[in-house]
Symmetry: C2
Subunit: 216 residues, 2 copies
DNA sequence: TAGATTGTTAATCGATTAACAATC
DNA sequence: TAGATTGTTAATCGATTAACAATC
């Protein structure tokens, strides 16, 4: 069982490994990875241990199997379908974001309740009305929903999604959802992220302390 | 000195306190806050202790002073100016995001190097060419930059920003920046966030384990 | 071989949680 | 007063780091 802090570092490893692979390298040491990411070599080795891939003393880790192992551990080796609710500015940006493909995430439909937006095309996807949510989720057996709606409507929407069969929610709304324990919720909360930045800025100002940035 | 985990919970407290305030309440107990956010009451009290606000046994905490104290601890009580670099879909969404106002964050300028975008209006802000970055930062004494650019250009841009006097970077590009320790860097990395969701989904599938969602 | 690097066990560090006295 | 709630000290838990043997 891999710890959450390790999971959070996986994408950074992945990007770096892909970069080195493209550069033509096929082996890399924990020391190098650590140096590039501002981590310690021990931590990198501990994280790598989680993937099941073994390194070779004096050489390091073979890049290709490491990439595969991390992808597999994250479940990114096979595509997962998700729906997106909310076709505002943020929702639109997420719907168009091509990077998701490399995480195995495919947004297969976008929903909104604004009549102006319904029927509009976002990239290749047509915006559907919210009243079709239940049927769509059912017919396409989607398990993951991305929420990019205003805070005020987030809780109610989340409850609806769960009742329609959604098992995991990626929530971009600035609202903490209260849902049954069996539902997986992951937040991407701009306020939380900015709070950390703000706090570090305040510290810097007050006590002249250096930043201590981490992959948080 | 308030810990980072506590800082990360502050925005959630803030939203909840504001909600209760609007509902007409002026006091609230740690028990209630904990219940609403899926935390323990002890943890809430510990976090509240960090703000300096004292509660009253049997009653709880007075909401208004608590809001003020948290805002102040985050430095959100006075407006901070920032520039945004990258006027793509995500950059556009961030530039238009009204929620920033409640964190004291004001995006005062947007930069891009795409000739098509330069001169365009995003909300009330006109997109400026990157070559004006240095002068703008200097003249407006901006210390914070928000980066919403492709991964490939992120490192170089970050180094430029630092050389132009930027002290803190909020990085939305899927790239880990390597910068001097005195620069504050905060990431909002979609890949990291989705990795946690993915890992939890995998766990659920494999061992039928319940979600264990936290305010991460 | 010598030395760089891995992998693991033990020590440290920090945050959460438990226990309980203090208080209105 | 009785009881709910606060605040603090100590215990627990988990992740990071240090130390060191194993290995190519």
């Amino acid at each position: 069982m891999i710890s959450i802090p390790t999971i959070k570092r996986f994408p950074s490893y992945l990007r770096l490994l892909q970069y080195y692979k493209e550069k033509g390298f096929s082996w890399i040491s924990a020391t190098t990875l650590a140096e590039d990411l501002g981590l310690t070599a021990v931590q990198v080795r501990k994280d790598m241990a989680g993937t099941g891939v073994e390194g070779k003393p004096k050489v390091g880790f073979e890049i290709a199997p490491l990439i595969d192992a991390i992808m597999q551990n994250l479940g990114w080796d096979q595509p997962t379908d998700a729906i997106l609710v909310g076709a505002g500015h943020l929702g639109g940006a997420l719907a168009r974001y091509e990077g998701f493909a490399s995480y195995g995430l495919r947004i297969i439909a976008v929903f909104d309740n604004d009549p102006v937006k319904i029927g509009m095309k976002i990239g290749t996807i047509t915006v559907l009305p919210m009243k079709e949510l239940r049927q769509y989720i059912d017919e396409h057996s989607v398990h993951i929903a991305v929420m990019a709606v205003p805070a005020a409507t987030a809780q109610e929407l989340a409850e609806d999604l769960v009742s329609f069969g959604i098992k995991a929610i990626w929530n971009f709304a600035p609202k903490d959802l209260k849902l049954p324990a069996y539902v997986i919720v992951q937040r991407t909360d701009l306020a939380t992220s900015f709070a950390v930045l703000s706090a570090k800025c305040k510290q810097l100002l007050s006590c002249g302390q250096s930043a201590k940035n981490e992959l948080v």
